[in-house]
């Protein structure tokens, strides 16, 4: 099978220092903070000390995979100051959480549906409304953007391998997501992910494991490769569960 979209890979940007400006005022399992880096870029930071190295691995690897698969995610970076060690996600202005009452005029349904395929692969069951942004544009439309992958179980590769090829349970999934008619888009994204083999995934795994100081690189690669290979069936199963919930 030839990949329809060539994998895009570039190393995660390293930021050497950050300035903390205040807490993000939403409930979150891992404390999120508005920070600036030395070049004035605006980020939302989550410290490894608060969320754990497993969550850092999940964030980094899911972000790299998202970029490779054309999933809408904010720019990402890692603060490697030993006193901070934080995952950085670019601040998205004019964004709100997903809600069924205001999720209209979505301008990127094909890309946004790929979030479902991504979550199926990394087994992320935390795609609630707080982890799905609606970013408004000047024409009144909005783009759906995925944030926060710290709870994806790819961060626990041994557990995920033991769990087998199971799809995410949608018990926390944002109400109204995905809107009707998005299934073919999610399937197309899953087909793209299924084209990523060990050779394409290895640099992503190496990069994420380096950031998270994860020693089980081979296991992470094995689990991720198996789940990408099964991306179509995992995504279809996940969508079946979503439809059964409705």
């Amino acid at each position: 099978m030839t990949p329809q979209v060539p994998p895009r890979y570039s190393p995660i940007r390293r930021v050497t220092s950050i300035v903390r400006l205040g807490r993000v005022p939403v409930p979150h399992t891992n404390e999120a903070t508005y920070v600036l880096d030395g070049e004035g870029r605006r980020w939302v930071a989550k410290r490894e000390a608060d969320m754990g190295c497993e969550a850092l691995l999940a964030e980094a690897l899911t972000w790299l995979l998202a970029r490779a698969g054309g999933v809408p995610v904010p720019d990402g970076a890692f603060c490697d100051d030993p006193q901070e060690r934080a995952w950085l996600s670019a601040w998205m202005p004019d964004a709100k959480h997903w809600s069924a009452d205001s999720a209209d005029r979505i301008t990127n349904p094909e890309e946004a549906a790929a979030i479902l395929a991504l979550d199926a692969i990394v087994l992320n069951e935390a795609r609630h409304g707080g982890n799905l942004l609606l970013v408004s544009d000047a024409r009144g439309g909005s783009a759906a953007v995925a944030i926060d992958a710290d709870e994806a179980r790819i961060g626990h590769p041994a557990d995920l391998k033991a769990a087998g090829l199971i799809p995410p349970n949608p018990y926390l999934l944002a109400r109204g997501f995905p809107p009707p008619g998005w299934r073919p888009f999610a399937r197309a994204a899953a087909e793209r992910f299924a084209c990523l083999g060990e050779a394409e995934l290895a640099p992503l795994v190496d990069e994420a494991c380096a950031i998270a100081r994860e020693p089980a690189r081979d296991l992470v690669l094995e689990v991720l490769t198996a789940r990408c290979r099964a991306a179509v069936s995992l995504t279809e199963s996940a969508l079946d569960l979503v439809e059964a919930r409705r």
């Binding site: 400006l21 205040g22 005022p25 939403v26 709100k96 409304g129 707080g130 544009d137 000047a138 009144g140």
Partner: protein, 101 residues
């Protein structure tokens, strides 16, 4: 008891620049949303505020705010309104929202 809460849109959380977008009035177990006069905002921000107001208009309580409004919305404290008011929404419009325009 009638109560109200002012709601602000945080244009820039890094400088804490914000603008008043609405007042929520709690009366007789229901919540009414009074929109502030249209703030001067860039088009994308205005579109976001419009979506946020729709979320607010679906709420039944003053606290907490609907989760969907996201991190760019903050609210003041829930405040009791004077018991002598005969038309609380008109008073809030006149005294608070108009002066914020």
């Amino acid at each position: 008891m009638n109560a109200m809460r002012l709601v602000y849109y945080v244009i820039d959380p890094y400088t804490d620049e914000r603008t008043l977008i609405a007042a929520l009035i709690g009366q007789a177990g229901a919540v009414q949303v009074l929109r502030a006069p249209a703030p001067r905002l860039a088009p994308a921000a205005r579109a976001n505020v419009e979506r946020i107001l729709r979320d607010l208009e679906a709420t039944q309580v003053l606290d907490p705010l609907p989760f969907g409004v996201g991190a760019q919305v903050v609210a003041g404290p829930v405040t009791a309104l004077p018991a002598t008011l005969t038309d609380a929404p008109a008073w809030v419009r006149e005294v608070l929202l108009r002066s914020a325009a």
